[in-house]
Symmetry: C2
Subunit: 407 residues, 2 copies
């Protein structure tokens, strides 16, 4: 696997275009963009599990069912959420107009929005933006950068990646962009992620690969446990590389699929971690490994309980190895524990064992807490199951960002 | 119902004593105390649900089963949690020595500890403290104040109450003290609460009354969703008023029990709210009412999801009526919702209805956000069930308190 430039336009047969159409108040930015496959393609997508969801999510769920996707149209600055029937009609209009500009079927365009909620879109601006973005499409690294920036809201960093794989001695490329910095102000529009590939996969298999990949990436991160109305993660596979990937049943022993899945996992993992690293006010990237659980679900509950504890997160911000908060957060996850079997390591230093603090060297431990990357490893000693969650600390800056925003 | 002074020594036949024995580093304070019934009495208690729990909790669970309690011995400054077998022996020693000083059975003494975890108690100091506290016992308001202060850790305010009821034309008094200010530094020792009454109730009925009362009080508050290793809430009923309270089956139509329950609910409700008001860094007291749910459990999950959202709490801190964060926090509570049926009120002003923002007056709403008390009312329009949760905002001060503490 090799890193390449170009983000979503790195794979063959993809174009992207982005422009500023006046949705965001900051003029020196992009706020609308299109990602387009020059060839017919399959597609798959996952959406927020929040019961309150935005118009483009409702529409996208319907469109993606057919498994044919050739384009994404995305705006930032306005989430088109809590906008009633008009909002749904506006999402439909975005799809219709994009399809018209790109000369594809309306059934092949997914729309996503992110930004402030409860405000109608200015559709005159949006339509002009789509037209301009479509007219400016290209496949240079600059186009890849522009579309990555067009989906940002309060992100401080652009988040993109592209990788080249060898499958059956042929190059296959995967590209991806994402956005998100916690449950960002304005409001709670968090994650969008768009992935492109020039491999070809039947839609059900592509869907399966995407879901598997999300399990090990986007479902493993938490900034503040607050899911959004707009989360959308989607992929287009256009086959322009000439490589067709089928399921394990073929006589290739499923190797191409394994290589593709590994590449996809790398892309989603990289992008998911990039979100945590850019978390609102974050100064630390924290990996929480729970091992020795009686079930995967137990491990997940405990890892999330620790990751979402404001007391653990503030301790990390203060660079304090507060094992008591970690152990007690595990204790209220609703999972049976035996405190005498627990071992807790921070940055590979054993600090709690047999129900009591271990005789660690406080100076070594304290020094390691100054690292930007912190690992917490909790061994339960009860079984074989594990989970890992990535999170960040809770800082004054987080409070500033989220308390100073005004509706 | 009438408010009276004296906290836990307001009921007849109760004494309390407190002293400083050197567990806390602040000398101008109390750190150990005893509450004692001069007469044999029944008792009941509830303990933390955290799977990691302190030695006094483990011991207390065993002792309270017999339903006979005459004394509480409590220290602050050290939680005696994660202290291994020695910790359990120390808790037993506290009970044994207190029983000896008070000339009661060891089976009638409950012990509770709060403060830093993972450090052994200095038993020489504790023993001397118990001796001094026992020798200084009395039933004046000063004694009531001293014991209320002796259980505080990072609380900024003493939390106590006493009420006088009339049952069958006879005075019955209930007194109570509590502590807690969130998952307070040092570490995670949150709530202790001790209640006394001069009514007489059989232990099983007393237990039932206490559990019922906790449902509407301590189980309705959250500061940061992090439960502790040491939570203990206990009551002693000594019958010194001469009033015997039995269950509904008696020919008094259960009226005395109803009056007693109402008094107890008032005491626990007052103390639970006092904790939220003294929440770490709190500037707002927030009541969240969820109505129209299909089950009580649904209402509870939604209310807690809103109350524990850092985004809702920071918005409240910023005095911003951020309805989007509230609605989306409801949306990820795992409960089926129909956004078109939802009405959301902040401080009685309708701000979200039929899936969209309501036409509220922003100036009136913004002005009301400056109140110290904020009410959030979410109508789901799905059923008849309701729940209420009390919480506080998330401020810079919370981060300061919890990030600056060092293990």
């Amino acid at each position: 696997m090799e890193m390449v430039t170009g983000s979503v336009v790195a794979p063959k047969g993809f174009l992207a275009g982005a422009t500023y159409c006046g949705i965001k108040t900051v003029k020196d930015s992009f706020d609308i963009g299109i990602i387009f496959s020059e060839y017919p393609a399959t597609g798959a997508a996952l959406f927020t599990t929040n019961h309150i969801c935005a118009a483009p999510v409702k529409l996208g769920r319907r469109i993606v069912q057919k498994g044919r996707v050739r384009a994404f149209v995305i705006n930032s600055g306005n989430a088109n959420a809590c906008t009633g029937e008009q909002g749904y009609r506006d999402a439909e209009e975005m799809v219709r107009f994009t399809a018209q500009c790109l000369k594809v079927s309306e059934d092949e365009v997914l729309v996503a929005s992110t930004g402030i909620i409860g405000r109608p879109l200015s559709m005159d601006k949006v339509v002009l933006g789509i037209k301009t973005a479509a007219a400016s499409m290209g496949n240079t690294p600059a186009h890849g950068n522009a579309i990555a920036r067009a989906i940002m809201t309060t992100d401080t960093k652009q988040k993109d990646i592209a990788v080249r794989l060898k499958i059956n001695n042929t190059d296959v490329v995967l590209g991806g962009i994402t956005k998100g910095a916690g449950m960002i102000a304005p409001d709670f529009a968090t994650t969008l992620c768009f992935i492109t590939t020039d491999a070809s996969l039947p839609a059900p298999l592509l869907n399966e690969c995407l879901r598997k990949s999300v399990e090990s990436s986007f479902n493993r991160i938490t900034i503040d446990g607050h899911t959004s109305t707009n989360d959308t993660l989607a992929i287009i596979a256009n086959g322009a590389s000439g490589v067709n990937i089928s399921s394990y049943k073929e006589n290739d022993n499923g190797l191409p699929l394994q290589i593709f899945q590994r590449g996809l996992d790398y892309v989603t993992g990289y992008l998911a971690k990039a979100i945590v690293k850019d978390g609102e006010g974050a100064t630390k990237f924290i990996q929480i490994d729970v091992v020795g659980a009686q079930s995967r679900n137990d491990a997940t509950r405990i890892a999330r309980s620790i990751a979402d504890s404001p007391l653990v997160k503030t301790a990390m911000n203060g660079e304090d190895p507060n094992w008591g908060r970690i152990v007690s957060a595990a204790g209220y996850a609703g999972v049976e524990l035996d405190e005498l079997k627990i071992n807790l390591y921070i940055n590979d230093i054993l600090i709690f064992t047999k129900g009591m603090p271990a005789p660690y060297d406080l100076n070594t431990l304290s020094a390691s807490m100054k690292n930007k990357d912190i690992t917490v490893r909790l061994e339960l000693g009860l079984g074989e199951y594990t989970d890992t969650v990535w999170t960040c600390d809770l800082s004054h800056e987080y409070v500033t960002i989220n308390a100073e925003y005004h509706t």
